[in-house]
């Protein structure tokens, strides 16, 4: 294999991995704080992508590409991303409030089954609303490319990687420096103690869902820019893979989500290139199983002892 092809795969892997990382962040934050696997997270991605798709179509039609070239290029994408973030944030908070909050004290099995129910609900509601026939998503940054030496990199890939880096930095700042971020960390350590310190646990958990869902919207837009076919089940497989990434990196850890996402993206691209496209998913899941066996808490995770 020559170096150029290798680099090309690597960049594509990084790009896919960035998307996984952004989705994994949502999983990992929610898992860290609410101690639940939000199975519906992947479907929030799908909703975000649909909202962006329709907004872009609507807004795009308002401008004439001949006379208002800049506005026609920027406005639909901007409006689409913003609106989908808003809708997903609201959706995330509503889901949490209606389905998960009543189960705060319930066994994790019950919460997980509920989350699966929510995931199914979103998929089937989307199917009724928007039909199951695929929509073809046009990349939010157009289909341009840049030439970096001998390599050709598309705008979508660039934007994806940049978005991932920005989000990661912003989140690290948020959790470490802001009051809300500190509250989140406190709640994830010990809900009871945090409550005694005057932290509003319910609001903190809602906030986590809001942030996770807003990130899911961004991930949805980026995902569909890279893989343009949009159906009601678009989000479920990337969602599960991103959860794999979160577990891979160590669930509850933000740098872990980044590391896990990037590694998983690279593994998937290389597996489909050198092993078989049909088996790439199987390879990704195989990696998950091996990781959980060797390091049950993931690469950067901490093992927690049960108190006896």
């Amino acid at each position: 294999m020559d170096f150029l092809t290798l680099m090309d795969y690597l960049i594509r892997g990084l790009s896919l991995g960035s998307i996984y990382a952004i989705i994994a962040l949502g999983y990992t934050m929610v898992y860290g704080i609410a101690k639940m696997l939000n199975f519906a997270h992947g479907d929030v991605i799908m909703v975000g992508a649909y909202i962006c798709f329709f907004t872009m179509n609507r807004v795009g039609a308002m401008f004439d590409p001949e006379t208002q070239a800049l506005a026609a290029a920027v406005a639909p994408a901007l409006a689409g991303v913003l609106l989908s973030m808003v809708v997903c944030t609201v959706l995330g908070v509503v889901i949490e409030g209606l389905a998960y909050k009543p189960l705060r004290q319930a066994p994790s099995l019950a919460v997980l089954i509920t989350a699966i129910g929510v995931s199914y609900f979103l998929q089937n509601a989307a199917q009724l609303l928007w039909t199951s026939s695929p929509k073809y998503f046009s990349p939010i940054v157009g289909s341009g490319q840049v030439q970096a030496g001998p390599l050709t990199i598309s705008h979508v890939i660039l934007v994806t990687i940049v978005a991932c880096v920005v989000i990661m930095l912003a989140l690290t700042f948020f959790t470490n420096k802001t009051k809300m971020g500190k509250a989140m960390r406190a709640v994830s350590e010990d809900k009871g103690a945090a409550q005694l310190m005057g932290i509003n646990v319910n609001r903190t958990i809602s906030m986590t869902f809001a942030i996770g869902s807003a990130l899911a919207a961004i991930a949805g837009v980026l995902l569909c820019s890279a893989y343009p076919t949009l159906t009601p089940t678009t989000g479920s497989m990337p969602g599960i893979k991103a959860f794999t990434a979160a577990v891979f990196g160590g669930i509850g850890s933000i740098p872990g989500a980044l590391l896990g996402g990037l590694l998983l993206g690279i593994i998937e691209i290389f597996a489909s290139a050198y092993i078989s496209t049909q088996l790439s998913t199987a390879v990704v899941f195989g990696v998950l199983i091996v990781i959980l066996l060797v390091k049950p808490a993931g690469l950067l995770g901490k093992t927690v002892r049960e108190k006896v």
Partner: protein, 355 residues
Amino acid sequence: MTSLKTMKKSTRTSFLTYAMVVVAFVIVQSLRVFKDGGVGAVLEGQLIPICAYITVALALNLVVGVSGELSLGHAGFMSIGAFMGCAMASALQDSVTLAPLRLAISMIFGAVLAGLFGFLIGIPVLRLNGDYLAIVTLAFGEIIKSIITNVYLGVDKDGLQFSFLTDRNQLAEGGIALIKGPMGVNNSARISTFVAGFILVMITLIVVFNLVNSRAGRAIMAARDNRIAAESVGISVTKYKMMAFVTSAALAGAAGTLYGCSQVTFTATKFDFNTSILILVFVVLGGLGNMWGTVIAAAALTILPEALREFADYRMLVYAIVLILVMLATNNPTIQSGLSRLIQRLKAGKGGEEQ
């Protein structure tokens, strides 16, 4: 009925469940034999799938309800049973001419292979707990699906031929392609019968009830209720979780063979994540650990969508809502106490009317 009342509660439950299944079987079977048009074309076509789904739902309830671990990959075991069992049935076409015997051998073969897979998967999976275990079973379900989709298996006079990813089998004349990758399986004969399905359901019920009410079953439930306490009284938790998991996988495999051999053709995508969820819905609606509820839920939810085809679009949506509502109703303390108060009031109201 006095003797029923004096029985131990667990014995009574199992007895009533057996009775319910036998009565249902007798009614359906006599309709099929004595009435013109039988039970109707729609139901007739669903009889064997109903038995298969009841079996696999009971098997899953053994894992989720009794052993307390969530498996999201049970369709995978069904898939192994369906493909391997049907391959066996086709391969034995000439050597075993008696169809019920051929079906029995195929089912046992499918069950053993699925059980073996359950064991291999259980080694890594059962070391994990909670959500991790669920996600890994999901992963295994997907892995099984992608592997079977790429398997080509054929038999001719020189023996078995196997290839992976692309079909490189060169079958001699008269050879049969047993599994054809993404094209799945074409059955030469549909040997599954309703009677066989009924027998499988009964065997499954007997296995599940007798297992639960025995030393091994108590150990499985002890491991579910309190892992550390179970270990402290000398119960090897992994061993008993494995026992439940493998038994469940084997039963799901047998159900897969039953299902597979009732179809003209099927592919690996039939047994995907959605099927695993569907089975889980049967179990949750029937009640975790509640076997008669599972039987009713599996039967009703397999017939209903066929009977209400015009609402097919809303079916999964309704399933999702029901799943969420059942979970909320059974696990939220506020809703629970509200419900029990409502029931009490209804009872009191009834009593008042009688007086």
